[in-house]
């Protein structure tokens, strides 16, 4: 017997009330002197005792009423033993690890053979279920007693590039035990990699009726060398500026010298030798990549000479393209702004942009759409150019405006139309200069520009930001950087100039990252990595292009999406290593390199103690082993206790009324 809500038993303390009323309180009667007790015989005592007995009945009823009430709220239950399932069978689950590490030698084949052997323990009343697992669990069929069906399910399991997760397996076993309503005996066939364990041991919890039987395919770890990671640019504009960093790892391997080769489109570009310390990592850097225009398949290989060659190569994709142009519009007399902006742009990591310089009049005659974005550097623009800029921005173009003394005289910001309340100059009185007091580091244009603290602003335009987003503020609380959305495009307003006169920003280290990041942001350069891990998701449809058909070819060249999915799917899971080709509607193709999770390259096995602990999280070992399986179910009987409470309450009312009637007579 137990209680489902035992904290309500604290209500038993209320029993103290009738005890005080009936037993303690009546003994506190003060003795009363009386002239003679001649007429109080011994029978008087018995009368009092008799009366006390009647009070004790009331006391007992009241006490039992409170006790029963507390019991009823505490939800008492008794365990009733019931037969768990008809026939007393069990569900035998054969869980086969099909992760990337099972590609080593014939591990998967041995796992399948062991699983087939385990089928021999299937009795007539038992049912079997085959599942394969990596980072997700896949059921290979419905539970059945047919050995042949189960055997076929085992044979249908294929190798994958996924990583194994014991936490996912444990969660699936818990769900199976809950839905099967019979004890579960789970046979696990795996190489038992330590890296498959979750960070929290609680995630391995098996549940009450699950018995885990591990079948370890490989008992000893094997030494392994692997290309752990490759850092390469996704886009290449200048092949000479390309830098590729390779990390090679040794998992339990001895100190060795390994050759690392950089391949592009199946052709070796260069190679290097690296000294590998025992069980450590080593880095190799390749400078320059002779990349043809278009999409290129990159690969880094090592000659590991180990027993697991599947992780000796690492894929990455590279797209060679020309840099895009930026239209820099300035007053011909003002060359300082151009000088600093050009220098900063050319100093950036990637030469993704070139600069086209024009005066306002020249810009009015040019085609704006051919430029990645437009920069207005402290110029007063003619109305025709402003009209062209408005159309350009509304169509999705981007504009960066620097407001120097000339442009601030216009009393409004071009294109956005934001009011300029005037120009603040630093003077001899008051503040000699303004500094930056706040920077929105969440915006792409400012997230790397953290060193604005020492920048001195001597002149700024006081712009009313309105509903626009302020990305930086000066010490007088006036906005320094404002982002405004106009139509489909954006306008970034810098309320000072780039000429090192209105401020000394161009001389500070933060200027180059600012120019680089604003160019990336306004030029719509995506910053996706050059490679993905197996199991990650690739975004296909964005809000800007709903319904556009996208074709995806997997590494084997097959279509990864159905026709319906090609127009609706928001993303696709990259489940195989290799190169995925993504063909979008605007003829913008992508090449996505996918590599297995390198945790699969570590063949360290789970210790027997950990396995034993994991097995102990399942409490159904004994139940699953037996034939006549019985189940203990709690039977809640609070309703019957409440009936007793009702009876006690009625009896208490009747006896209480009786005593009350006696008191009335006394009154």
């Amino acid at each position: 017997m137990g209680f489902l809500a035992p904290w309500f038993l604290a209500g038993l303390a209320a029993v103290a009330l009738p005890i005080w009323l009936h037993l303690l309180r009546q003994h506190k009667t003060a003795p009363l002197p009386f002239s003679s007790l001649m007429f109080f015989e011994r029978r008087t005592d018995s009368a009092i005792k008799h009366r006390r007995l009647r009070y004790l009945l009331l006391f007992g009823l009241r006490t039992s009423l409170l006790v029963l009430l507390a019991f009823a709220f505490a939800r008492p239950f008794v365990n009733s033993t019931t037969v768990a399932s008809a026939g007393g069978g069990k569900l035998i689950v054969l869980a086969i690890d099909h992760s990337f590490s099972m590609r080593q030698a014939d591990r998967l084949a041995r796992a399948k053979a062991d699983a087939e052997q385990a089928l021999s323990s299937l009795r007539a009343e038992d049912r079997g279920e085959v599942l394969s697992f990596g980072s997700h669990v896949q059921l290979m069929g419905d539970p059945t007693s047919d050995s042949e069906t189960l055997r076929a399910a085992i044979h249908s399991i294929r190798e994958s590039d996924d990583r194994s997760s014991f936490a996912e397996l444990a969660r699936a076993l818990r769900s199976l035990a809950q839905s099967a309503r019979m004890p579960v005996e789970a046979h696990l066939f795996s190489d038992m990699q330590k890296t498959s364990l979750p960070s929290s041991f609680a995630d391995l919890r098996l549940g009450e009726r699950v018995k885990l039987v591990p079948h370890q395919i490989a008992s000893q770890p094997i030494p392994n060398f692997a290309v752990e990671n490759v850092l390469a640019p996704r886009r290449v504009y200048d092949p000479k500026k390309v830098r590729i960093q390779v990390t090679v790892s040794s998992y339990g391997g001895p100190a060795a010298r390994r050759r690392v080769a950089l391949m592009l489109n199946g052709r070796e570009q260069s190679s290097k030798s690296v000294e590998m310390p025992a069980g450590e990592r080593a880095s190799v850097e390749f400078l320059g990549l002779d990349t043809p225009y278009g999409l290129n398949r990159g690969e880094v290989r090592i000659d590991s000479g180990d027993a697991f060659p599947a992780d000796d190569h690492f894929f990455f994709s590279v797209e060679r393209s020309d840099p895009r142009s930026i239209l820099f519009v300035h007053d011909a007399r003002d060359t300082r702004g151009l000088l600093y902006y050009r220098t900063a742009l050319e100093s950036s990591r990637e030469a993704a942009f070139t600069l086209d310089v024009a005066t306002p009049q020249q810009a009015a005659d040019s085609t704006l759409r051919s430029h990645a974005f437009v920069v207005l550097s402290d110029v007063t623009i003619p109305p025709g150019l402003e009209q062209s800029l408005v159309s350009y921005v509304r169509a999705g173009g981007s504009l960066l405006i620097a407001l120097g003394p000339d442009s601030a005289a216009g009393r409004r910001v071009p294109v956005t139309g934001a009011a300029i309340r005037g120009t603040r100059y630093a003077g001899r009185e008051g503040n000699r200069f303004e500094t930056v007091i706040w920077l929105d580091s969440s915006h792409p244009a400012t997230r790397r520009t953290t060193s604005w603290d020492d920048v001195k602003f001597y002149q700024t335009a006081a712009v009313e930001p309105g509903n626009s987003r302020v990305l930086a503020k000066a010490s007088d609380n006036s906005p320094l950087l404002i982002e405004t959305h106009v139509g489909e495009g954006r306008v970034l307003v810098f309320t000072s100039s780039f000429d090192n006169i209105s401020n000394d920003f161009p001389l500070h280290p933060g200027f180059v990252p600012f120019v680089e990041e604003t160019a990336h942001d306004l030029g719509h350069l995506d910053d996706r990595p050059a490679n993905f891990a197996v199991g990650s998701y690739l975004e296909l449809h964005t809000a800007r292009e709903p319904g556009a058909a996208i074709d995806v070819l997997d590494p084997r060249g097959a279509r990864a999406l159905t026709l319906a999915e090609s127009t609706r799917a928001q993303n696709i899971q990259l489940s195989e290593q290799g190169f995925y080709e993504v063909h979008r509607a605007n003829h913008h193709n992508e090449l996505v390199a996918v590599n297995p999770d390198r945790r699969e390259s570590d063949f360290s096995v789970v210790s027997p103690e950990t396995l034993a602990l994991w097995q102990n999280t399942g409490q159904g070992s004994a139940a699953a082993a037996g034939t006549g399986v019985s189940e203990r179910k709690p039977l809640d009987f609070w309703w019957y206790v409440m009936l007793l409470v009702l009876v006690a309450a009625i009896a208490e009312s009747l006896i209480g009324n009786w005593h009350l009637a006696v008191d009335k007579e006394a009154a």
Binding site: L32, F39, A47, I48
Partner: protein
């Protein structure tokens, strides 16, 4: 209006017993209608032939001169009697829930009787007792007797338990024949024992009045809760339920009062129940009624 002064609560506020007694008696007498039976002036009553031993001072010498026969002249005032007040001062007499307790009430009655007797030229005496005779003032009509009595009454304090047998055996030595004996007690004893103890007084030609002094709560006790009662005399205790006090006890005390009254009257004794919540004139009226019978 003077009846107000006979209320025990009013009398309890008076300082001395003499004043109490005077207030009671004067108030009581003022309330009476004049009656020849109750006069106490010294008017002539009868002549009686001289017998040897009579006081020569009472011989009517004028009659002797005319008839040469000696006659004694008797006055109504000389038809006096001898009053002996027996005051019980046992511990139970100290009980009281009314304005005065039983002992004080008995003191007032005793003092009033003595004062009344003194006014009527009766000889008055006092015996204070509990289980022993605690004080004795011999009956006398001499001057100053009243103050001796009042002083003895004043000094009477609650003592120990009541035992009629022992002191009454002793009374017989003090009580002279043909007197009037007033016993003031709560009579917590078996009625048979009381009557058998007091009865010998009656045999000696005395008129005996039993004043049964009881508190109203002794006659009709009422408790809302069970109580632990302590006997004031023997310190015994007993738990009493309200129901018992309401029913059983009342039946017993009423039976006791009835039995005592019946047995007293059967033995030729006068019995009168004095409720301490009642005015004192009822007790005095009883006394005078008995005394009138003796005239």
């Amino acid at each position: 209006m003077l009846q107000r002064f006979l209320d025990p609560a009013t009398l309890a506020g008076l300082s001395g017993l003499d004043l109490v007694a005077k207030t009671v008696v004067n108030g009581f007498v003022s309330g009476l209608h004049r009656s020849p039976d109750y006069g106490f002036s010294q008017e002539f009553a009868e002549y009686r032939a001289y017998t040897p031993g009579d006081d020569l001072r009472h011989i009517d010498w004028n009659v002797f001169a005319r008839t040469e026969r000696a006659y004694l002249k008797r006055y109504r005032g000389e038809t006096n009697t001898r009053l002996l007040v027996l005051l019980d001062t046992s511990a139970s007499m100290n009980f009281g829930t009314a304005a005065v307790n039983k002992l004080d009430y008995a003191r007032f009655v005793a003092a009033s009787l003595c004062y009344l007797a003194s006014e009527q030229r009766d000889a008055a005496g006092l015996i204070v007792f509990d289980e022993e005779v605690r004080n004795y003032v011999p009956p006398s009509s001499r001057q100053g007797q009243l103050f001796r009595l009042l002083h003895a009454i004043e000094k009477a304090e609650a003592g120990t338990r009541t035992d009629f047998t022992k002191p009454f055996a002793h009374f017989l030595n003090f009580v002279r024949p043909r007197g009037l004996v007033a016993v003031l007690s709560d009579f917590y004893e078996d009625p048979d024992v009381i009557i058998k103890t007091i009865e010998p007084l009656r045999f000696r030609g005395n008129d005996v009045i039993l004043f049964h002094v009881l508190d109203p709560r002794e006659i009709e006790p009422s408790f809302s809760d069970p109580v632990l009662l302590i006997d004031m005399e023997n310190k015994g205790s007993v738990e009493v339920s309200p129901a018992y006090a309401r029913h059983e006890y009342r039946r017993k005390i009423e039976s006791h009062i009835a039995a005592l009254g019946a047995k007293a009257r059967a033995a030729g004794l006068d019995y009168f129940l004095l409720n301490t919540s009642r005015p004192l004139d009822e007790g005095l009226r009883e006394y005078l009624a008995v005394r009138r019978g003796r005239l």
